[in-house]
Symmetry: C2
Subunit: 419 residues, 2 copies
């Protein structure tokens, strides 16, 4: 990779270089460049100078984890930049600072989060993050509420949405890898073989699952609710004991809010089902992970509803619809609309959570939580439990009206003995 690694600094514009110089000191020939990325999509570098470090994220014209056979526009970095910019207006504290966006080289220079780790790695090591559920629910409630019709006028929303109508390459990856491939016989699918062969085959030929996943995909294609992150798994979140940062919103577009909430929940479920196979953490850690699921949903719901009560300024439910009503009538109407909204959002979140769990076991891109279980029999057992819970959720998400019954079902699947 030396050609690439040496060239990223040379490719930066003079303006970007001077920003970097101010941030890390010294001259370019004194800087150390290390490729540190292990992501699926981009090249990630740490650039170190005498007085500091920055992160440089550069898009290559293909999907990094597959190679040049999967071309991908480098413009995705631009959408990531615009999403960070939009989300920073309402949730800056949970985002890395962007120092420069260098369009010509498709590179973004950002704050280097040296004192954070990827949440997934922390979870695999059994680390607890006591402030995480507060932070991530702030982030989700604020980014989703304030970019939606609940807060914005329809015109403002469409003005913002317009740009992200162009972010089609990355949405296409989701459409294929989450909503299509795991439910068909596809060369790109992979799974723990031969242990999961029959389950994978069953998922690839199950009419009920195909109908259910198509309904969710329809929401992904048509429900323009908010500027969502679009890839909010535990590899897109950096944490430590004090802070939380959400990174990598290159999949951002105007889509269904439940997609963000669902992916996050799914990754905690995947972390949970992995623990038995990883077998390196105390058993109480499983309970902590499920507790996070409960906390994430309940805090998100509470914060989202609080924003609703304070900032319902958009065209969704304009105050003037209620001008003639008594205070009690107004409260009853808002409360009813809000609870219908939250019920639908919860339902969507469960459906999308199921789709993420399934694709992480049967699709192209897996999660390290499961992949790192060395014994394939143990891994397959954990994966089969996750798949069964996900199948139940995908087919029956409408039947779950609260998070506690979901947790009960997940615990029940976790307790299944090896076949």
């Amino acid at each position: 990779m030396s050609r690439v690694t040496t060239s990223v600094v040379e490719q930066l514009s003079p303006e970007s270089l001077s920003v970097v110089r101010r941030a890390i000191g010294g001259a370019p020939d004194s800087w150390a460049l290390d490729e540190i990325g292990d992501g699926n999509v981009n090249l990630i570098f740490r650039l170190s100078g005498p007085s500091g470090q920055v992160l440089v994220k550069q898009a290559v014209p293909y999907l990094r984890c597959v190679g040049e056979s999967w071309p991908l526009s480098v413009r995705r970095n631009y959408f990531e930049y615009k999403a960070l910019e939009a989300h920073a207006t309402v949730a800056a504290e949970y985002l890395p600072r962007v120092l420069a966006f260098d369009e010509a080289s498709a590179a973004m220079v950002m704050e280097f989060l040296g004192d954070h780790v990827i949440l997934r790695k922390g979870v695999m090591q059994g680390i607890r993050y006591p402030r995480f559920s507060e932070h991530i629910t702030d982030y989700m409630a604020q980014t989703l509420f304030f970019t939606s019709d609940l807060f914005l006028s329809a015109g403002e929303k469409k003005q913002k949405m317009k740009l992200f109508c162009e972010n089609v390459d990355l949405c296409k990856i989701t459409e294929d890898l989450i909503f299509t491939d795991p439910y068909r016989v596809a060369e790109t699918n992979r799974w723990t073989t031969p242990q999961l062969d029959s389950l994978a085959h069953a998922f690839a030929t199950d009419p009920e699952l195909k109908v259910a996943i198509t309904e969710l995909k329809a929401k992904f294609l048509t429900a323009c609710e908010a500027l969502i992150h679009g890839d909010l798994h535990s590899g897109s979140i950096m944490v430590n004991q004090e802070a939380t940062k959400v990174i990598d919103p290159e999949f951002a577009y105007y889509g269904p809010m439940g997609f963000d909430v669902g992916l996050l929940l799914a990754n905690f479920f995947l972390g949970y089902f992995s623990q038995a196979g990883l077998a390196c953490n105390p058993p109480e850690y499983e309970a902590w992970l499920l507790e996070q699921v409960e906390q994430i949903w309940s805090k998100f719901e509470r914060k989202f509803c609080a924003l609703w009560d304070q900032h319902l300024e958009g065209d969704y439910l304009p105050a003037r619809l209620l001008t003639g009503d008594s205070r009690a009538a107004r409260a009853a109407i808002v409360s009813r609309v809000r609870s219908d909204y939250m019920a639908r959002l919860f339902d969507d979140s469960l459906g999308f959570a199921a789709s993420e769990m399934i694709r992480r076991v049967l699709g192209l891109a897996h999660v390290a939580d499961l992949d790192n279980i060395a014994d394939p029999d143990q891994r397959a057992l954990c994966e089969a439990r996750a798949l069964r819970a996900a199948r139940e959720l995908l087919l029956n998400h409408r039947k779950y009206t609260g998070i506690m019954p979901v947790l009960a079902m997940v615990r029940e699947e976790r307790a299944r003995p090896a076949p």
Copy 2:
């Protein structure tokens, strides 16, 4: 209006003028210009020359039926032009031909449909149009299917959608006049007074209706399903015994398909409820109007499903999801997804139909069918019947799973005696 009427020809670009010259012959000083519009939004002229006529539609920077106090961007003509262009690729036979779009003067030069009348006028006169239901269902099935994710890739759809994200002024009119004002005390509302005062007050203060209309508005704001006409009432359709032309798609944007279907059905219901008050047509004409409703839904459904069977080429349900399945399994899956889709579309259509009926009796913009009933008691009786049917549909659209029970309910409301 002479300043305006003389200036529209002078405002046309040389290119547009030469198009007009080819169409109608002669020189500009030999042309006769008549303002013929009675629409709510634009100025409409007939321009006649020695060898023909064209229609010139010019946007003014305000809502014509209200005046300069309601400013409105003239760019709406551009969206109308782009919608006509998009729809003409799939349903040209049901659209007026556009000869020139003159952006500088916000004027569009179009085929003059001298041998057509506005459908609403024909319905008020009791005229039957034997080919209408075939034509309008061709138009709706083709424009809605081929601009949706059923036919297009997600990227193609978003590319088309992007432009219409800017058509916010006219969507705002719908958001206010259909989804907000009739359900609140608003100065812009009007109704037959004093006969409907108590019904109008009841609608303006009904919590159930506010909740139900908000759910429909949410679809209007977020469901980006297809490039809809956006204002498909019987004043936007020109007909004769042989042909049907859909005009005025300036409200076009990517929205819920059911909005087009629903507005059309609603205007037939309004025509139906008007007949008793107009009292100028044979009683069998009422049955013909309800027969049209039945025909419109059933033919639309049949044609839309036929397009589904022949042209399901979009990302909604890609063929590759079904590659591993037997022919029988494939057919079962497609059929199940399709029938869920049509059930939802029917339900949406009924809800939007209800919202159109209500706003045409209690909101700012009424329909001539009802307004032309001279006796206010008779008019109020017809309007009250329409309102009660609409209220039932708005609150209970989910309970109607076929068009026949809807017609039965409508007939029952029609039979209600004067209070």
